[in-house]
Symmetry: none
Subunit: 421 residues, 2 copies
C-alpha cells in the first residue's frame, strides 16, 4: 500500500512552524509497511487543497490530509474534500450535540457559533469521533483511494492515527511489515562509507541500503519488508553483519543512538564517571552529555575554561606549559584532562582545546584542535587540523572527543596521536 | 514571485528526520517577498523526483530542490534535473579539481572516487560553488521557472541560499524592494504578543505583521514593499515604533540578533566580563555565548557543576546551603553565581540550577529552575516553574538566564524574584 500525506496550513509554507506531523505519520505508516511515497504542503486555499487532494488520490492508495478541520474561517479542508467528491455538505445534528456537550464540559464558557462548522460533513463521508479536541476527522473513498482527514493539532492528530487509522489500515492491508536498522559512524565521511559498501548498495534490494549524513556523523540505514517483524529482522541481520564487518571501529552504535547516548551507556556499564575540560567547544560537550536523562549517574561536570588564566586557576594547567607550548597544544590538553579528572574526582577526564577560527588563536592556525583523555592508567592525546568553518570545527571537536571516550571504554584502538599535517 | 520547495530524500518519507530545511527556506524567501505556495517531499526515486520537479516548474516561478546532491548512489537529483530538461550530463573538470583540492585541505585522507559524481552537471546548468561541503548546487531555467538545487545538509544548504540564491532572487525581483525588520522577544509567548498587537495585525497590509515562534523566543516580523529600500524602511518605521511602544522591555533586539549576540554586544559596550555556573543547562549557556566570534573579549568561562559536590568544591557553595535549602534553591543559585564571579575573576556571575525532569531533583519538582545574577553591587535571583518537557526546561532556562544579563546591562527592570506558583 502506498500513502501520500497532504499537510494543510499557510503557516507551514511561511516557515512559521515546521511540519512535524508528517514525520510522525510517516514513521507510524512505515512501521505497518505502508510506504509514504509523496508528501505535499499546501496553504489555506480551497482550490489548491482540492488540487492537492485530487493529485494524491490519483496516485496513492491512502491519502492522509492533516489540518484545516478547526472552527475558523481558514479551516476549509472539509469543503475541499466535498469539492473533490463533487458533493454538498450536510449538517450532522449528532455532531452538533457532541460539540455542545464538549464545550459545556470544558468549562470555557459559551460555544462560539463558528464551532458549528465542525458539524458540517461532506455527503457520504464517515466521521472519526475525537476524544481530545472538538474537530471530528473524516474517512471517505475518493475514487480508488482511501482518504482520511485529521486535525493539524499534533496530539489530536496522533490520537486519531494511533487509535483509528493505523488499526484500520493494518486490518485492510495484510501486506507485510517494514523494519529498519540504523548504524551510526563517527570520524569517517559518507562518501568513504559509500565506497566501502558500494557493491552491497547496488545488489541489495530487500533489504536495501541507504546513507544519511549530518554534521560530523554518517549513518547507514538497512530497511527490509517481509510478512512479519521477525522475518524482516531476519532479512536485515546478515547484511548488518557484513556492513559491521567491513566498517569496523567507526560504527559507534547499531541501535540508532546519539554518540552521547552511546557514551552514557558505556560509562554506566563500566561503572565509571566522566568530567570534561572544555575550551574550544565552550560547554557544548557537557550540554550534549547532560541532555540524556540520567546523566547524573556518570557525569560530574565540565570546566569551561574559556579564558587562558582559567585553565591555570581552575584546572592547574602549569604556567610554564601555557607560556611555552601555548594553550592550543598537546601538553595543555593533557594537563586540562588530568586537571578535570582531579578537580571533579572522576574516573576519566576529557579535554578539548583549539582555535575554532576564523582567527588563529594562541599561535595555532584556525581549525587546530587538541583532544586528550586522562585515565588512571594512561593518557592519550590527538591533534587535528580541520580547515572548515568555526561552527563545524566545534561540532567535529565534540564528535572526536566523545568518540575518543567511546573507543576507550570499548577497548578499541585510539586514533594515532598526531593527525595534523 | 511564487516559489515551490521540493525536498528529496527517502529518510524524510520514512519519518527518520524532519524536514527542517523547508521551514528555514520558507522564512528566508518570505523575508524577500517570495511566497512559497507549495512544498513537496519525494523519495530517492528518479522518476518521482523528475515528476515532482516537472510539476513544480509548471506552476511556480522559482523551484528550490533540496537534497540528493551528495556523492553516493542514492544522490540522483542531478540526473533527475537532466531528465526534466531532456539533456545529458557533462563532467566538469574544474569541479573535479576543486573537489580534489577540498579533500586535500580537509585532511581526512584520500578522496574516494564516487565524489566525482558531484562533478557531473546537467548540460546547460550553472554551478553554485560551495564554500562548505563538497556538493555543488545547480541553477538552471526549466521552462519559465528558475530552478535551484541545493544540498540537503542544513549548513551547506543555508550557505547557498543566503549567499547566492536570496541575493539573486532579490536582484531579479525587480518589481520593488521588500524589506523586513525582525524584533525578537524573550519571556513572553506568541499568543500574548498576538493579543497585544491584534489590531495592527488585522489593519496593516503594507507593512505587514507576522509572528514566528521557536522554543523560548517569539519574533515579530514587519515586512514592507516599496519602490526602494529607503521607502520600504520608511513604511516600516512608524509601525516598528508602535510595536516597540506596546511590547516594551520584552523586546531584546530590533536587529534580528540572537540573545547571546545581544548580550555580547552589551558586555562589550560596558567593558564588562561574564562567567557562568551551570547545573541544569549542562554547558549550553557557555556553548551559545562562545559560538559568537570574539566572545573571548567578554566571556571568562563556565563551571558546569553537574554533580552536587562539584558545586561545593569548585564554587564554594556552602555545605549548609546544600543540606538545608538544597541544590535547586534560591540560596544555592545565589552562591553559585557569586562563586563563578569570584573563581573566574569576572564582573558578572550568572548561575542556573534546576530540575529539568522528567524526575524531580533534590526535593524540587520537575521544571523548577532558579537563576541568579551576581554583580559587585547587587545580587538578584528568579525562580521559575515550567511544566514542560526536559529539553524545553533547559532551553527556557538558557533564555531566562541570558535575558536576565541583558536586562541588567540595559538598566531595565529585572523579573520579580518568585515566579513559582
Amino acid at each position: 500500500m502506498r500513502a501520500e500525506i497532504v499537510a494543510v496550513g499557510t503557516e507551514l509554507l511561511l516557515g512559521q512552524i515546521a511540519d512535524t506531523n508528517a514525520q510522525w505519520i510517516s514513521e507510524r505508516l512505515a512501521e505497518i509497511g505502508v510506504d509514504v511515497v509523496h508528501h505535499q504542503v499546501v496553504g489555506d486555499n480551497l482550490l489548491r487543497i482540492q488540487e492537492a487532494i485530487g493529485l494524491a488520490a490519483s496516485r496513492a492508495d491512502v491519502v492522509l490530509v492533516s489540518g484545516g478541520l478547526g472552527p475558523t474561517e481558514d479551516d476549509i479542508t472539509r469543503d475541499a474534500v466535498a469539492a473533490v467528491l463533487g458533493v454538498g455538505m450536510v449538517r450532522r445534528p449528532e455532531i452538533e450535540d457532541q460539540l455542545r456537550e464538549k464545550f459545556a464540559a470544558f468549562g470555557r464558557g459559551e460555544m462560539s457559533a463558528n464551532n458549528l462548522r465542525q458539524a458540517d460533513v461532506p455527503e457520504g463521508a464517515t466521521i472519526i469521533v475525537p476524544r481530545r479536541g472538538t474537530a471530528p476527522g473524516l474517512s471517505v473513498r475518493v475514487g480508488a483511494a482511501w482518504l482520511y482527514a485529521v486535525p493539524g493539532v499534533p496530539d489530536e492528530m496522533m490520537e486519531m492515527v494511533t487509535e483509528v487509522i493505523v488499526p484500520e489500515l493494518t486490518a485492510r492491508g495484510g501486506e507485510g511489515v517494514v523494519r529498519s536498522k540504523v548504524l551510526r559512524c563517527a570520524g569517517i565521511g559518507e562518501s568513504r562509507i559509500a565506497e566501502i559498501l558500494v557493491d552491497l548498495f547496488r545488489s541489495s534490494e530487500n533489504p536495501s541500503l541507504a546513507y544519511l549524513a549530518s554534521s560530523g556523523e554518517a549513518k547507514v540505514r538497512l530497511t527490509a519488508k517481509a510478512g512479519s517483524a521477525q522475518e524482516a529482522d531476519a532479512l536485515i541481520a546478515p547484511l548488518a553483519d557484513e556492513v559491521l564487518r567491513r566498517l569496523g571501529d567507526v560504527v559507534f552504535t547499531a541501535e540508532d543512538e546519539t554518540l552521547e547516548e552511546a557514551v552514557g551507556r558505556l560509562l554506566r556499564g563500566a561503572g565509571a564517571t566522566l568530567a570534561c575540560a572544555e575550551s574550544v567547544t565552550g560547554g557544548s560537550v557537557g550540554a550534549r552529555i547532560t541532555a540524556v536523562p540520567g546523566a547524573s549517574a556518570y557525569f560530574m561536570g565540565s570546566a569551561v575554561v574559556y579564558a587562558a588564566e582559567a585553565k591555570h586557576s581552575l584546572l592547574g594547567v602549569s604556567l610554564e606549559t601555557m607560556a611555552q607550548a601555548g594553550v592550543v597544544s598537546e601538553a595543555c590538553a593533557r594537563e586540562m584532562a588530568a586537571g578535570a579528572r582531579s578537580v571533579f574526582g572522576a574516573d576519566l577526564g576529557l579535554a578539548l582545546t583549539g582555535a575554532a577560527g576564523p582567527q588563529p588563536h594562541a599561535g595555532a592556525a584556525a581549525g587546530t584542535v587538541w583532544i586528550a583523555l586522562d585515565a588512571i592508567e594512561r593518557s592519550h592525546a590527538v591533534g587535528y587540523r580541520w580547515r572548515v568553518e568555526r561552527d563545524r570545527v566545534r561540532r567535529w571537536a565534540e564528535q572526536a572527543g566523545l568518540d575518543l571516550v567511546r573507543r576507550y571504554l570499548e577497548g578499541r584502538e585510539l586514533p594515532p596521536g598526531d593527525r595534523l599535517d
